[in-house]
């Protein structure tokens, strides 16, 4: 033989899926919610989505350029962050605030901690919460929807008013760009489930825990209408399927995912029913993100064959 061949450790073949393809699938899955947001809120929503995506990609590119690092924008994770951030903004937000949110998400939450895979919380939610604290007024102004009070259904619920759950399912209600249509979000969730991007451990344990909490502690008893409104309102659907399932900031252990979902459900309930605001999903998620290392340590899966060590041979 003329040439010496490359020697590597096994395995010598690889599956086709890479990070870029996964991110692409998430982007596709976000499209129903994004398109509905544009339909519901008009051109402003489209502008905010574009501004948010472009600035996220730009900040990642510029950070890596400045620090002379290899560019990673082609993995499309910045696009996902930009899209998710936009989904969490009210359509009336000034575009420059979206740029600030994108900058905080990418530079402070993601890149300073080492880039993709190292961020300890979901960058998009980090950006959103930063904007919530910095620009509380514009971030909670949903009047652009109907030109009136712009009270979200959750705020109405909290004030003791009744809401139209059918509208909440379809999404023709005030709210942030991507959170209003439960149906559009569920279509995206089904896409991700079918492509094997996410599984149901986190969303199911989150939503079930939250439902039980609502029935027990929200003070409405077993009011199905109230429960449906709580599940369809606010960011809980978007949060449960698109943000709590963020790989990097959720536990990798199977049991950890369930624990993570349960904590999310409890915290969201506490924030929504006992806190001053009608919302609570974003804070619940970023707070629970911080607990991930602890959750993982407490849920180390027992390896194959370990549990039966004592009673060996049991068929």
């Amino acid at each position: 033989m003329d040439t010496i061949l490359n020697v590597t450790s096994n395995p010598h073949v690889r599956e086709k899926t890479d990070t870029q393809k996964i991110m692409l699938c998430v982007i596709v899955a976000l499209m129903p919610a994004a398109l509905f947001g544009i339909f519901n809120f008009g051109i402003n929503a489209l502008i905010l989505i574009l501004v948010s995506v472009i600035s996220c990609v730009f900040f990642e590119w510029a950070y890596e350029k400045l620090l002379k690092k290899k560019s990673t924008i082609s993995d499309l994770s910045a696009v996902v962050t930009g899209l998710l951030l936009a989904m969490n903004l009210p359509s009336s937000l000034p575009w420059w605030m979206a740029i600030i949110g994108a900058g905080f998400a990418i530079i402070f939450v993601k890149m300073l901690f080492g880039g993709l895979g190292q961020n300890f919380m979901n960058p998009a939610l980090g950006g959103r919460c930063f904007l919530m604290i910095s620009f509380t007024g514009p971030m909670t102004d949903f009047s652009a929807f109907d030109g009136f009070t712009g009270a979200t259904p959750l705020a109405s619920l909290k004030a003791g008013e009744s809401v139209d759950t059918m509208k909440m399912l379809i999404g023709t209600i005030p709210g942030t760009i991507g959170e209003t249509s439960t149906i559009a979000i569920l279509i995206g969730a089904v896409i991700m489930l079918l492509c094997g991007i996410i599984d149901l451990k986190i969303p199911a344990s989150y939503l079930i825990t939250f439902s039980i909490f609502t029935l027990l502690f929200a003070g409405h008893g077993f009011d199905a209408n109230f429960l449906v409104a709580e599940l369809c309102g606010g960011g809980i659907m978007l949060g449960a399927f698109f943000m709590a399932t963020d790989y990097v900031s959720s536990p990798i252990t199977p049991m950890g995912k369930i624990v993570f979902g349960i904590i999310l459900g409890l915290l969201t309930g506490v924030f929504r029913f006992f806190g001053p605001s009608a919302e609570g999903v974003s804070y619940a998620i970023i707070f629970t993100n911080l607990l991930v290392p602890l959750i993982e340590r407490a849920t180390i899966p027992r390896a194959f064959g370990i549990k039966r060590e004592s009673k060996k041979g049991g068929a």
Binding site: M1, I4, L5, N6, V7, T8, S9, N10, P11, H12, V13, R14, E15, T17, D18, T19, K21, I22, T72, D75, S77, G115, L116, G117, Q118, Y247, V248, S250, I252, T253, P254, E296, I300, P301, R302, A303, F304, G305, I306, K307, R308, E309, K312, G313, G314, A315
Partner: protein
């Protein structure tokens, strides 16, 4: 139909259609054959021939170096040319006996046993040991040791590993298509030693013709059973096979016998049959030369000790574009070769030549914690964490997360979207931790 299987695993492209329909062709070697003294787990064999000595085919050339060891026989007649270190498939230099074939294949006379049912367990074990039979699926554990468990009465299952879950490999498949009766006879001999055991042929459902053949041959025998398994890698891993067939689980500290099982590969059972019935030592096996870079993928009946390059030549050599990767064994657990000047041994079942080097083709990117490795791991480990611990030298954490349970199947690296070399990192750490333990 709920096929039996285990939890986890992956579905790599199986590539078996390249060679599965090619009948086994006997290949007579030319020139020099190399017999490494370590073709098995345990002590190396001790040479009992001298340089210049004439040997016959089937003549013992090295004696077992202990109980956990195995003798080695010449697969050709000729002259001992040298006893010196030679490179083997795994990359090490191993002391080897080199024999120049005279092309005559003059064979020693073997002691046949007309009625094997008259033999005692001790006699059967002695014949298997003397014939140099070892696990031919790849591990090379001496078969006579495996068949001598501490408590023979507790063995309830003899499992024939007919899964052949490694992609591309078709040697076991061809054996089952062409000579399934030898496999069944081998199983019957083993069952003779374990009166309480049932013989189960665990076979993936992609080899349906073999399932039918085995069902025909085992029909009416209440001690034999064919168990169809889901086609999934690593279904033929010992622990995974036991789980699928019996529902029992063993870990790294246990032996199959602890779960009442003994697992033997197809070729091993055939070698047991040849050894006990015909007194023939292990000198030949079926070997697949395949891959998209090979002109004519084939299955050969080879003389153990034949050079890899001779086998590739017999399969028509490489296509014009050449091969970027050559592997001894399958793509999931085989060893990459930098050169084909190495001998076949008792445990090598294939030469795979690929036009793509997928392991080096992709650049490793950041781990996104997606958990695909966790889902793929048949041992229910968290490979991404274990690889992190390996890279940071955290031995305690590595053990705490059950790193030593890794079976090195490669499923984690296969499915990793960040193209991390997870299995490699875990294997490296596992070796270090085990070495530390031995020192203590």
């Amino acid at each position: 139909m709920g096929l039996k299987t285990f939890k986890g695993g992956v579905h790599p492209y199986d590539g078996k259609e390249l060679s599965k329909s090619k009948p086994v062709k006997e290949l007579l070697p030319k020139g020099e054959l190399v017999f490494p003294l370590s073709q098995h787990i345990g002590a190396p064999a001790t040479p009992i021939v001298e340089v210049g000595e004439a040997v016959l085919k089937g003549q013992k050339i090295a004696e077992a170096g202990g109980f956990v060891s195995s003798p080695i026989y010449s697969s050709v007649s000729g002259t001992v040319k040298a006893i010196e270190p030679r490179r083997v498939a795994v990359g090490d230099m191993v002391n080897s006996i080199i024999i120049e074939s005279d092309g005559q294949f003059n064979e020693v006379a073997y002691e046949e046993t007309e009625d094997v049912t008259m033999l005692t367990s001790e006699q059967i074990i002695a014949k298997i040991k003397e014939a140099g039979v070892v696990g031919m699926g790849g591990a090379g554990f001496p078969t006579h040791v495996k068949l001598s468990p501490k408590e023979p009465d507790k063995i309830e299952y003899i499992i024939a590993n007919c899964a052949e879950c490694e992609p591309y490999l078709t040697s076991d498949y061809r054996r089952m298509v062409e000579e399934p009766e030898k496999l069944v006879e081998g199983m019957k001999i083993v069952l003779q030693m374990f009166p309480k055991a049932k013989g189960v042929f665990g076979i993936e459902d992609n080899k349906h013709d073999c399932v039918e053949a085995l069902q025909r041959l085992t029909a009416g025998n209440s001690r034999l059973e064919v168990c169809e398994l889901m086609t999934k890698y690593p279904q033929g891993g010992e622990r995974q096979l036991i789980k699928a067939v019996t529902g029992r689980e063993i870990n790294a500290k246990m032996l199959p016998a602890d779960a009442g099982c003994i697992v033997d590969n197809v070729e091993t059972l055939v070698a047991i049959y040849n050894a006990v019935r015909f007194g023939r030592p292990l000198t030949n096996r079926i070997f697949t030369v395949t891959g998209d870079a090979v002109v004519e993928p084939r299955n050969f009946a080879i003389s153990i000790g034949t050079n890899y390059s001779e086998l590739l030549e017999a399969a028509g050599g490489l296509l014009a574009q050449g091969a970027k990767k050559m592997i001894a064994g399958g793509p999931m657990m085989g060893f990459a070769l930098f050169d084909l000047n190495i001998p076949t041994t008792k445990t090598t079942s294939a030469l795979l030549c690929l036009t793509e080097d997928e392991a080096s083709k992709y650049e490793t990117t950041a781990c996104i914690n997606c958990g695909r490795c966790v889902e793929a791991c048949p041992e229910q480990l968290v490979p991404s964490k274990l690889a992190d611990f390996s890279e940071r030298g955290l031995k305690g954490e590595f053990e705490k997360w059950y790193g030593l349970e890794c079976v090195e199947c490669g499923s984690c690296s296969f499915g990793c979207p960040a193209r991390r070399h997870l299995a490699q990192a875990i294997k490296t750490m596992k070796k270090q931790v085990l070495a530390d333990k031995r020192k203590k």
